[in-house]
């Protein structure tokens, strides 16, 4: 049985409006029906662009966001339906590492205090001396000097702060650690240190990871299984190598072709699939396949009307695309694709132009829809920030 299993998880944030009374005028569909399972000892990578709901999903697993619908089964218990106090106790076994190493550490607590906070909350260690011993052991594990104990977060470098964040999760000896963009705030040369550290402690402590990141290269490096998210849903899931070798969903293909590789030979010769347009608003997601508004392989049937389910293609490869097999077999051609020499005869130019024109018109409509959606969103109150990757500014100070 899987250690962590998500069944149809949905997180919808209400969009409220009104001068005197808050009226719910719509929802931001941040996470819209995600099912996946994470095996013990594995690393599950969640990848997607900002606004795809990956951070919201990660927080939902820990119930830092309210779950609208669905189950989060952790070791046989459904976390989504636990009372608050029991959920709090479960958090000892499910930990999180945050993106912003400085922001996620209380600036007024020293390292010892930060690291013992969780232990005190869960009654680990009889007294502070016992806790300190444990903390020292973990500090050594994450590569921090013991004299760090009395120091404050602002006295460390970015990489060291992230080590503190990792140590904070480790002192509770959790089973699962959810790493939300663990390296994206760090400098390139430091990223590798932290990634290596994560791998080392996984081996030595038998941890299970859910790694959430926008950087496909990072996710591929560290994960056993990768799930690709787009606009609140999982579009493809496969073992890491398989996903790289045979991306099946058009979005995964585009994403992969867009990730820069630090090698001019590769960069000059690779085929790039440029997506047009922008991510639609999660408050007003497109009908049918969420990706059809930007998909270069979009077909006239199904795509705009039916939402594709994740289909198992064998070898643990799941894809949510109506035409995944057709695309894989080369039976469907991408619009704007240069014609392979093996194909007999060029396609009629007029047809292609017609197609492009149609696509543009479609896009325009979508964009207009997105604009209105964004206007609606502006009137939104409450915890809608998770929907766009949590990058909204903090609420303004009053007074």
């Amino acid at each position: 049985m899987s250690l962590l299993e998500l069944k149809g998880v949905k997180v919808h944030f209400p969009v409220k409006k009104g001068i005197f009374f808050d009226r719910v005028v719509g929802h931001v569909y941040a996470v819209d029906g995600i099912s996946l399972s994470v095996e013990a000892g594995q690393t599950y990578g969640l990848v997607g662009e900002s606004g795809c709901g990956k951070t919201t999903l990660g927080r939902a697993v820990l119930r830092l966001n309210d779950i609208t619908e669905g189950e989060v089964v952790f070791d046989g218990t459904d976390l989504a339906s636990l009372p608050e106090e029991e959920m709090r106790r479960q958090r000892q076994r499910l930990q999180m590492v945050f993106q912003d190493p400085l922001g996620s550490l209380n600036p007024r607590q020293n390292i010892e205090s930060i690291l013992s906070e969780g232990m005190a909350a869960h009654g680990i260690g009889a007294n502070q001396d016992e806790r300190r011993e444990k903390i020292k052991e973990i500090l050594a594990k994450v590569g921090l000097p013991t004299n760090a104990l009395a120091r404050y977060p602002h006295e460390f470098s970015g990489g060291q702060r992230q080590r503190i964040g990792i140590a904070r999760a480790l002192v509770l000896e959790p089973d699962v650690i959810i790493c939300d963009e663990p390296v994206s705030a760090l400098d390139v040369s430091i990223q590798a240190q932290v990634l290596n550290l994560l791998e080392e402690i996984q081996d030595s402590m038998g941890l299970t990871y859910v790694v959430i990141a926008h950087d496909l290269a990072v996710v591929r490096h560290i994960s056993d299984v990768i799930g690709v998210m787009y606009l609140g849903s999982l579009v493809e899931e496969a073992p890491s190598d398989l996903l790289y070798a045979e991306p099946k969903h058009p979005y995964t293909k585009a994403l992969m072709s867009a990730v820069p590789v630090p090698d001019p030979e590769v960069e000059d010769n690779r085929e790039r699939i440029l997506l047009t347009g922008d991510l639609p608003s999660p408050a007003n997601p497109p009908s049918g396949c969420r990706f059809h508004t930007r998909c270069p392989w979009k077909q006239d049937t199904l795509c705009a009307t039916d939402r594709p389910e994740l289909k198992d293609l064998g070898d643990g490869h799941r894809v949510a695309c109506h035409y995944a097999t057709e695309i894989a077999e080369g039976r469907l051609r991408r619009s704007g694709e240069s014609v392979p020499a093996t194909l007999p005869g060029p396609p009629s130019l007029t047809h292609e132009m017609h197609e492009m024109h149609e696509r543009e018109e479609q896009e325009e409509q979508e964009e207009r829809a997105v604009d209105t959606a964004q206007k609606v969103q502006k009137g939104q109150k409450g915890p809608g920030s998770g929907a766009s990757g949590g990058d909204e500014p903090a609420p303004a100070r009053e007074g």
Binding site: N196, P262, D263, G277
Partner: protein
Amino acid sequence: MALLSVDELSITFTRRGQRDAKAVSGVSFDIDPGQVVGLVGESGCGKSVTSLALMGLLPDKGVRIGGTADYDGTDLLSLSKNRMRDMRGTQLAMIFQDPLSSLNPVVPIGVQVTEILKRHRGMKGEAARKEAADLLDRVGIPDPTRRLKEYPHQLSGGMRQRALIAMAVACAPRMLIADEPTTALDVTIQAQILELLKELVDQEGTGLLMITHDLGVVAGLCDKVNVLYAGRVVESAERRPLFAAPTHPYSHGLLGSIPRLDAPRGEKLNPIRGSINDNIEWADGCAFAPRCDYYTMECLTGTPQLTEPLTAGHQVRCVNPVVEGSTPNDDGDAGRAESAGEDAVGDARDGKSADIEKADTTEASS
């Protein structure tokens, strides 16, 4: 002839009662028309300060700028504020990392674009509006006439960056400086923007100074690359030789520490140890030495000079460059010093570094 030729640029921040902080020293590079030159480095290496100095955007007080930046016969660094203001926009333009904060939030995009056209190109009314729409169209913003009426917050991140690029190229500048133009954007949008920049350079023959931390972006876009560390160029080469044989231990280490999408899974990363703060003063030796896997005693005496140990045009600021056969020594880490590492270094030395070895021993015995 080079469009922009930067020679021995140095930028020092001075504060009363504090020691001068050298942000950049001795940075030189040339940019030809239609060429993309990359300035690569991590935070604090001085790459952004360099761009601000070239654009004349550094404050007058508390900053000392040395060297020259020759643009078409004029030294940008010694121009008056007024002359510089005229140069900006018409001759040089800059694209910033954060498109939202670089646009005025309360003024529609159209007004912001036409303002530039009115001021620098003397266009008026309908003509300016039409030109603005054309510009937006050129940078790939769909339905430009409608977009002109919109405010920055109504545009997505990618669209904003496009609008910013449209404003930058409004007066057909011959030189563009892009400071991390895609860092705030998603990869699929980044690919679009990079494509757009490439087109601009190819079609208009604009010179582009690309400032980034992302070696992947550099590999796809730049013709020449300058790697910066602690305010100095440590390696400078054409794109292909640099990526084929990164010779400074820093660039070498940087490339070894990036997870590559196309690398087989399970391949270990080789991080550079320590952090960016572990510098020594360049005057004391190589600033990178404390983090370097290859350093010797020689590294700690005086500033190393740029040399060309491999091929012409591939400059490296290192007395002990990473060439075939170099093996990292293990003794930088005081806590884990083992004699085995030392032997390995000794064995692997070629003729050049044998001298260093000698210097090493004399240094120790004296």
